[in-house]
């Protein structure tokens, strides 16, 4: 396997690094805009915060552009039809606090029709040069370039198909740069009928080129909106704001070393180094607490012990949110041999991790005791708990929450969801339904089989963790 040293990109210890965001397709563009809005607002909040928080956050996501008064996002917007990009650009402008670059977007006239093959085989090669040109311009404007975050959904045609192709191009063009793909998994009950095909095709290809896949599931975020945030009529804007909050909780400045004053300078590199310690394991999930409506927030207080207790149980029981947590799920007692977990007996199916990253923000953060996350039983037998756990802290509060705790986990968290996707896609493939639509644009049955094999291997790898 890879050693930590070989994964690390040589980076200066001090000074802020910048990341380039790629917003791909409707979902990628919508979430990207919310993320930028969030980090900009959170960064601007001056209440008792060190200047460096704002400066670093700004440098990470924004730059200056001649002729524009407000910070300009280090982002490239790509879509195959114009409506979403127009809307996204306008929305950013309306904030009055930041905007997108004047020449940062690329779009065409006709979308990909939810067809991964159309996005990957046709649009990708056709528009490669133009898109990479925009990317290169953005990278050149980074004094210290810290890697890419490519945002896309799995369900459609552009984000998933074109997004996968562009990721491959990025890997070829920037072999030593970090690439993190932020993927949104659609609702289990269709947004798009062929979404499971598109998912399998995307995941299998990205696994070979991307450094890590950070996953959000619409179903989970939807439940967060309804059960925790009490939103009655949930819109995609609500969903996207939660995802943005969760991403921001990890990407905003935080100390990755045990020093109170120095913020980590290499967010993506540090993230990948902590979590992706083996090339077979690239799926990351993100949980963040607390999350609640503004109204409830007024009347709530939080303690670190309570937050740590909940977060730990959420990890063990694979509860994606802070409600309906299964407290019956327990780790095997220390010293006992690890039991093989039958899928049928749920009590034994606790979530085994390869690596975990805790990001804690807020008051009294240095008093938070994270030892409960260092138990060896949480981790696969061949990964010592000491190496598997990383903890980042900052006493700077994040986005209205007096205390905020996130865990980015490389674990079996996503295995069941992935399994469901593959089951549905495989059943559909067995009937060859819709396959003619993909073959039309150059994806053969052989290609499908290869992709299924790759994803089955990923599932098997995670299964074998314990």
């Amino acid at each position: 396997g890879l050693t930590r040293e070989s994964v690390r990109q040589s980076a200066p210890r001090s000074g802020a690094m910048s990341m380039v965001l790629l917003q791909l397709g409707q979902c990628g563009n919508q979430i990207g805009q919310e993320l930028l809005e969030l980090v900009n607002t959170d960064g601007r909040n001056d209440l008792g915060r060190p200047d460096s928080y704002r400066a670093i956050s700004l440098e990470r996501f924004f730059r200056q552009e001649a002729g524009t008064d407000v910070p300009v996002a280090r982002a490239v917007l790509v879509d195959m039809e114009p409506k979403v990009i127009s809307h996204t650009l306008a929305k950013a402008m309306k904030s009055g606090q930041w905007s997108y670059g004047n020449h940062s977007h690329f779009c065409q006239k006709q979308g990909s029709g939810n067809n991964w093959a159309n996005g990957f085989c046709i649009h990708g090669p056709r528009h490669e040069e133009a898109v990479l040109d925009l990317v290169q311009r953005e990278v050149e404007q980074c004094e210290r370039f810290g890697g890419f975050i490519a945002m896309m959904s799995l369900a459609g045609g552009t984000g998933s198909g074109l997004g996968t192709y562009i990721t491959q191009c990025l890997r070829d063009m920037y072999p030593n740069s970090f690439i993190l793909n932020q993927l949104t998994w659609p609702y289990g009950t269709g947004e798009v009928i062929v979404q499971d095909y598109n998912a399998v095709l995307t995941l299998s290809h990205l696994y070979k080129t991307s450094d890590a896949l950070l996953i959000h599931e619409n179903d989970t975020v939807h439940k967060i909106c309804s059960q925790l945030m009490n939103i009655k009529q949930i819109s995609f804007t609500d969903i996207n704001k939660v995802i943005a909050h969760q991403l921001g909780s990890v990407l905003q400045p935080v100390c990755t070393r045990w020093s109170i004053s120095e913020y980590g300078s290499n967010p993506l590199g540090d993230l990948l180094e902590s979590l992706v310690t083996h090339p077979e394991y690239k799926l990351l999930s993100l949980m963040n607490i607390p999350l609640m409506s503004d109204k409830s927030l007024q009347f709530s207080t939080f303690t670190w012990p309570a937050l740590m207790k909940n977060l730990r149980q959420m990890l063990i029981a694979n509860a994606k949110m802070e409600a309906g947590i299964d407290w019956q799920m327990k780790l095997p007692p220390a010293g006992h041999p690890s039991v093989s977990k039958p899928f049928s007996d749920r009590k034994l199916c606790f979530n085994t991790s390869l690596a975990n990253l805790l990001v804690l923000r807020g008051k009294e953060v240095f008093q938070a005791d994270t030892d409960s996350f260092k138990e060896q039983a949480l981790y696969t037998s061949w990964m010592p708990a000491d190496s598997a756990l990383s903890v980042w802290r900052t006493s700077t509060t994040f986005n209205k929450y007096e205390k905020s705790a996130s865990i980015v986990s490389n674990s079996q968290c996503l295995q069941r969801s992935l399994d469901r996707i593959v089951t549905k896609a495989w059943d559909m493939f067995a009937s060859r339904a819709y396959v003619h639509q993909y073959m039309k644009h150059g994806i053969s049955e052989e290609d499908f089989l290869d992709c299924f094999t790759t994803v089955e291997q990923v599932i098997a790898s995670y299964s074998s963790l314990g």
Binding site: E81, K83, Q110, G190, H222, S235, W426
Partner: protein, 475 residues
């Protein structure tokens, strides 16, 4: 953004088309207050400067609306309908170069329309269509509107389909076909329909069958509501599925109400492509998601609401009612029983102030009463468009790829067989150059095998849902 071209063929096609242009103008006028020519308008219209001196109208791509010209091709082998159109309030919307007419009609004979006129007008039609396509920056779709039972719409209309496939293979072909009812007064309508069906199956990307009787029933339902007289249930007249553009009570033609329904179908079908929303659905996504096998591209459509009540307060319950109605037979544009048959796929295209949670709640609620084919248990494709139709706060168009259509097709086949057994009226067809008896048998066989494809899928209904054994990975 992309453009679409409407090709209206025959009497029915042109009457429906006329209503479409009326209503699409109304829809855009409702949204486009500043009179600027935008990309949404550009989908169906060009903006021309008619003052240019070189004879050819120049297309203006931006700026104020000067003169809107429909991206339409009007074809009829009789002059009556098209002439009326040219004298009516829409005359400025059409360019005389877009029209192809003749005088003698097709005599309700598919062979005359398809073989005789097809041959005769092929080059001219191609010329007009090419010119119309050249005005488009990025032509995505041809919408063909016609009826199946006659001669021109049915014959010449389907001739056009294969022509379009050859000349513009990358452009989608969506067909709105009005099928004859069992008591249709054209005796040869079963022949015309079945001969046309073969072309639809082979050359269309997507077909939306419409039955006159369903339209009549919807019209009656609306009129009943409108005339019920209770003030509490007063409906907004502008909002009904059957209301036309003008607020002045003008001489409404007999089929206007029915044709408005079909026009509204097309408006709702294209709304998410024209206007923005949080979950867009373009036309190419319709075929991608709803057509699992190339020939099975017949979609049952239903529209709700039929009208909006005058009181503005829309509680959630009423929103949910809209979803329930979409799955009630009263709102379908053809007679069929999707609930008793098998769904291959279903699309819900929502307009207006509806969010993803409303959509999800209703899918969960309705799912148990619907049967989906085993490999597509979650076979839902959804879209949310922010712009509602005129007079409504929200609306829903449901498109179902369901095996229930085989009942309609079987009926049609039976009517065909009844006539054909006696070789009734065949000679009228065989007189036409290029028409042979084998055409009839081929058409019937095509329909039979289509029905058989649906039957085979139906055989999976009711079977326990088992998952296929997965690939096993050596560890």
């Amino acid at each position: 953004m992309t453009q679409s071209v409407l090709v209206q063929v025959g009497q029915c096609g042109n009457q429906v088309g006329c209503r479409f242009w009326d209503l699409v103008l109304r829809e855009h006028a409702n949204v486009n207050k500043k009179g600027i020519y935008d990309e949404a308008l550009g989908n169906f219209f060009r903006n021309v400067d008619t003052r240019s001196t070189n004879g050819d109208d120049t297309n203006l791509h931006k700026g104020k609306i000067r003169s809107l010209k429909a991206r339409a091709v009007l074809i009829d082998m009789e002059e009556g309908v098209v002439n009326e159109l040219l004298q009516g309030p829409l005359r400025d919307v059409f360019d005389s170069k877009q029209l192809i007419t003749d005088v003698s009609g097709s005599g309700n004979n598919w062979a005359v329309g398809n073989r005789q006129y097809g041959c005769q007008y092929r080059d001219r039609i191609l010329d007009v269509i090419r010119k119309t396509a050249e005005h488009c920056d990025c032509l995505q779709c041809f919408f063909l509107i016609h009826s199946m039972g006659g001669g021109t719409g049915s014959g010449l209309g389907t001739f056009l389909l294969s022509l379009l496939e050859d000349e513009f293979p990358e452009v989608y072909r969506f067909v709105t076909s009005v099928y004859p009812s069992a008591d249709d007064d054209v005796i040869t309508s079963p022949y015309n329909s079945v001969l046309a069906m073969k072309e639809l199956t082979e050359h269309a990307d997507c077909v939306l069958p419409i039955e006159n009787q369903s339209l009549i029933d919807i019209v009656n339902k609306i009129n009943q509501m409108a005339n019920s007289g209770k003030s509490a249930s007063a409906i907004k007249l502008q909002s009904t599925l059957i209301s036309g553009q003008s607020k002045v009570k003008r001489q409404e033609k007999p089929f206007d109400a029915m044709n408005n329904i079909v026009a509204n179908l097309l408006l709702n079908l294209t709304s998410s492509a024209r206007f923005e929303g949080s979950l867009n659905m373009d036309l190419n996504e319709i075929t991608m998601n709803l057509v699992p096998y190339p020939r099975l591209h017949y979609l049952v459509s239903s529209l709700t609401p039929l009208y909006t009540l005058a009181d503005v307060n829309i509680p959630t319950r009423r929103l949910d009612q809209m979803f329930t109605d979409a799955f009630s037979k009263d709102h379908q544009l053809m007679y069929a029983d999707p609930k008793r048959n098998l769904y291959l796929a279903c699309a819900l295209m929502v307009r207006g102030n509806v969010q993803i949670s409303d959509l999800r709640r209703n899918i969960e609620r309705l799912k148990p009463s619907l049967q989906f084919i085993p490999w597509n248990q979650e076979g839902w494709k959804t879209s949310l468009c922010s712009v509602p139709p005129v007079g409504h706060t929200h609306s829903l168009l449901a498109l179902a790829n369901n095996t229930c259509v085989k009942a309609t097709f079987t009926d049609l086949k039976d009517r065909f067989v009844k006539l054909y057994k006696k070789k009734a009226h065949i000679h009228h067809y065989l007189h036409v150059d290029g028409m042979e008896q084998s055409c009839f048998t081929e058409a019937k066989n095509s329909l039979s095998s289509l029905i058989e494809e649906y039957n085979q899928l139906d055989a999976t209904k009711g079977l326990p849902v088992t998952n296929m054994p997965r690939l096993s990975i050596a560890t």
